[in-house]
């Protein structure tokens, strides 16, 4: 194991001497009990720049943002805002100081209207404290139009919006206040390519007005396309700050992980098309699907089949209807050539199917329970007799699988919430592997997972398919699908819009299929 310590590689560019930074942090530290979250972060933000903050999960990005917006307080170090000491004790302090944040988790009020959400911090009032709805709707309309959401009715309750639209509403809300600094925490995680493009235009406009933007992202290509400078955090320390033009992806990744990444990301695959058909769908239709024809395809043993498509194209719904998490409306499903009709996930699991869900915190894990208990959650029969748990056997199984998937943990009795995102995702995988599945459905298998763990998960998935498992992978990251898949199906409006064979893989080709329906729509 070699550590390439390239701390503080490129010093601030000459321009730094001219422009006074609007925000300056030095030596900021924060501990939670015995855990050091930040161990000396220095960071400076100039007016009108887009500054990327990158680092693996657990590097301290979220902690830093929480300190800046007054949710938690630092233990040591200094922060100056516009030359004055800045020490926010509540999120309100931060807002007053002109720091607006769009958090990774949604903070919207689902049963209130879009307009009420946007103006929640400063509701227009009439006499006796009554809400001035006309002004409210006007202000909200203007805010949405400004970010190009002209098609969303401000009276709609937020719960009726899709995730991507919610994210944009969240941004509109942040922009309502007077902002000197806008912090965006993983803003593109739920956005499609088109919406991301729209967001980038908004950022460019803000930048032109002199607003400084802190952009937190796992997507380095985004960092390179819109940011001016970048700061890398690793283990709670700022290890590098550089002008974007003066750095490379490799340099950033090296600094993020502190070691050279294995070439795992780019390994090629031998196509094995000889496998028998494991799963065959004919016109399978999820209740939310507008089209009666549904989805049809075959999945073979040993194959990794990728599913691409925009957010809302029915990818998650497809997996859920295969697994009977939602019951399909119509259509047939054959498993090893035998027709099946699962009426609940239990039957799908017994039939050798596992489902790694999109949202591990909501659907995949029981966060407060032990790692071992999470690993065996879907295979409790294996570690019990006559309904009695055999804890020793459970621990053994958890340790064995933990070893196979290279899980980094302290003890299998620790709550799974103590693990990092990547390791949590591995626990979800282990839960299904404990069942020796024949088919694995994976929905966004590396969302919110850092670069190092991502490579490990890729290697793991490849290994599984080499062992003969059939994998069906939904992902919004095209490079991920292109790296992993033998074949990619592109979904659009709950149908298969096209199929791309490995030799024809290209982002352009896939996106063409994904946008096919949208474009036809535009011509009407």
């Amino acid at each position: 194991m070699e550590n390439t310590e390239t701390a503080g590689a490129s010093a601030p560019a000459p321009a730094g001497a001219v422009v006074e930074p609007v925000l300056e942090l030095s030596g900021v530290k924060k501990r939670f009990g015995g855990v050091v979250a930040l161990n000396g972060v220095s960071f400076s933000l100039r007016p009108g720049e887009v500054h990327a903050l990158v680092g693996e999960n657990g590097a301290g990005k979220s902690t830093l943002i929480k300190i800046l917006c007054g949710i938690i307080q630092r233990d040591a170090g200094s922060i100056t805002l516009g030359g004055e000491a800045y020490d926010p004790h509540t999120p309100g302090d931060a807002k007053k100081a002109g720091i607006q944040v769009v958090h990774q988790e949604f903070n919207l009020l689902p049963y209130l209207s879009v307009a009420e959400n946007i103006c929640f911090e400063d509701m227009p009032r009439k006499a006796f404290g009554m809400v001035d709805f006309r002004t409210l709707y006007e202000k909200a309309r203007k805010a949405l139009d400004a970010i190009g959401l002209g098609d969303v009715d401000v009276r709609r309750p937020v719960e009726s919006l899709g995730v991507a639209h919610r994210q944009l509403v969240e941004i509109a809300r942040a922009l309502m206040g007077e902002s000197r600094i806008l912090i965006l925490d993983e803003p593109t995680a739920t956005l499609t390519a088109r919406e991301t493009e729209r967001l980038f235009q908004i950022i460019a406009a803000l930048k032109a007005k002199g607003v400084a933007v802190v952009f937190v992202s796992h997507h380095l290509n985004e960092v390179f396309s819109i940011c001016d400078r970048v700061t890398v955090l690793r283990n709670g320390e700022s290890v590098m700050t550089a002008d974007i033009a003066a750095t490379t992806t490799d340099q950033l990744v090296t600094n993020m992980v502190g070691r050279q990444l294995a070439a795992a990301m780019a390994a090629s695959r031998d196509l094995d098309t000889g496998g028998r058909t494991a799963l065959s769908l004919r016109n399978l239709r999820h209740p939310a699907s507008p089209h009666a024809e549904g989805v049809s395809f075959d999945l073979r043993y040993g194959e990794i089949l990728g599913i691409a498509g925009l957010v809302g194209s029915g990818r998650t719904e497809l997996l859920r209807s295969i697994f009977a998490a939602d019951l399909p409306l119509s259509g047939t499903l054959e498993r090893d050539g035998q027709p099946r009709r699962y009426s609940n996930p239990k039957q799908a699991i017994r039939d050798g199917i596992g489902f790694v869900t999109e949202d591990r915190k909501e659907e995949g894990l029981i966060l407060d329970m032990a790692i071992a208990a999470n690993v065996t959650l879907a295979s409790l029969r294996k570690v019990s007799r006559l309904g009695l748990l055999n804890k020793r056997e459970e621990t053994r199984l958890a340790q064995q699988l933990g070893g196979e998937i290279k899980l980094k943990y302290g003890n299998t009795a620790d709550p799974v919430s103590t693990l990092s995102g990547g390791n949590q995702q591995k626990v979800v995988l282990a839960k299904w592997l404990a069942n020796n599945p024949k088919i694995l459905l994976l929905d966004e298998p590396t969302r919110g997972v850092d670069v190092g763990a991502k490579a490990e998960i890729y290697a793991l998935l490849r290994g599984l398919s080499e062992k003969g498992l059939a994998l069906l992978i939904v992902s919004s990251e095209l490079p991920e699908l292109i790296t992993l898949s033998d074949r990619i199906l592109v979904m659009s409006k709950h149908r298969i819009a096209g199929e791309v064979a490995r030799e024809d893989f290209s982002e352009e080709r896939i996106l063409n299929f994904a946008y096919k329906d949208e474009r036809n729509h535009g011509h009407h």
């Binding site: 609940n344 659907e363 329970m369 053994r396 980094k408 302290g410 620790d414």
Partner: protein, 333 residues
């Protein structure tokens, strides 16, 4: 252990930390109970054997109901109907027990069975309705609270049933070395509850559902079954509680058990079980029920009125939840 390729980080220290944390939860409540006992032991009579017997007798019924309540609260539910259902079970059992021409032993046996069956009936009703239509159990059991009370009044025509077999009454006041037999039965039920929740697959899945219902469902568990089962278990314990009540007080009346559900919920909460489900234990509930019992008895010995006692119990419930917040913060760090 032949798992050589483990990537275990320094394990030893963390193992100890984790186990202490889990034990800490119950230990904290235990310490509170011991502290209370020490404080009250300065009053005369508190530790006298007759008073200890008295306290344990007072605790028994609430403890039995609280065990069932723990199961329901663990899956994120609540059962407001237990007091009324207890009275319904009691009048059913009382009616059976006083049927003319029955051998006393047979009468008591049949009465016990009928009380438990009545409890199961209401438990099933609560569980099935709330699980099938996904109605909050707060509302469903608010409904069955009224149904059971009305049914009890209807069945008895609002009259009280008494004159049970002499042996049954004697059984209710039996003690072993000053410990009431009924309390020992409650302790056995605690042990069974503890075993089911910590040692069985059933218990594990209950915790799982309480923590994250969707994750449990997607892992192939029949959430509907477990929810109904939790309420049914609660019903069984209400049935047993009804028999214990009759054995102790020698009556069965449609107006008994008012407010019992709140005492049971209080014991569960003081015992450290989270109202949102997924966290807690029957051992904590045992300690919680004892705290309520000791507090009630000790405050009366101190010469405080029953009204004052009620106020102080109220404060203790709130205090327990506040302390739990701090404990949570401690374990999270």
């Amino acid at each position: 252990m032949d798992t050589t390729d483990l990537t275990t980080a320094p394990a030893g220290s963390k193992t100890i930390a984790t186990t202490t944390k889990t034990v800490l939860r119950e230990a904290g409540i235990g310490i509170a109970l011991i502290a209370l006992i020490i404080v009250f032991s300065f009053t005369p009579h508190f530790l006298s054997s007759s008073n200890v017997t008295n306290i344990l007798t007072q605790v028994t019924i609430n403890l039995v109901l609280s065990i069932g309540m723990t199961f329901v609260i663990l899956i994120g539910g609540i059962d407001l109907s237990v007091g009324s259902v207890l009275s319904f079970c009691a009048v059913v059992a009382g009616t059976v027990m006083t049927l003319p021409g029955l051998d006393p032993a047979v009468a008591v046996f049949l009465a016990t069975i009928s009380a438990i069956v009545a409890g199961i009936g209401f438990g099933l009703l609560n569980g099935l309705i709330s699980a099938w239509w996904a109605i909050p159990s707060f509302i469903v059991t608010l409904g069955t609270l009224n149904i059971a009370r009305g049914a009890a009044l209807q069945v008895t025509n609002a009259s009280t049933i008494y004159s049970f077999p002499a042996a049954f009454n004697a059984f209710g006041s039996q003690t072993f070395y000053g410990i009431p037999l009924l309390f020992l039965i409650a302790l056995v039920l605690v042990a069974i509850g503890w075993f089911v929740l910590t040692k069985t697959v059933f218990g594990r899945v209950l915790y799982g559902i309480g923590n994250n219902e969707e994750a449990a469902r997607l892992a192939g568990h029949n959430v509907f079954f477990y929810k109904v089962a939790a309420f049914t278990i609660c019903g069984v314990l209400v049935g047993i509680g009804a028999i214990i009540y009759m054995a102790r007080l020698n009556i069965a009346s449609p107006i008994i058990g008012i407010g019992f559900e709140l005492n049971a919920i209080a014991a569960v909460i003081i015992g450290g079980t989270s109202l949102s489900g997924g966290r807690g234990s029957v051992v904590g509930t045992l300690l919680g029920a004892c705290i309520i019992g000791v507090l009630a008895n000790g405050l009366i010995l101190l010469g405080l009125s029953d009204f004052m006692r009620q106020m102080i119990t109220g404060f203790v419930i709130i205090l327990a939840v506040i302390l739990d917040k701090y404990r949570e913060r401690l374990t999270k760090a």
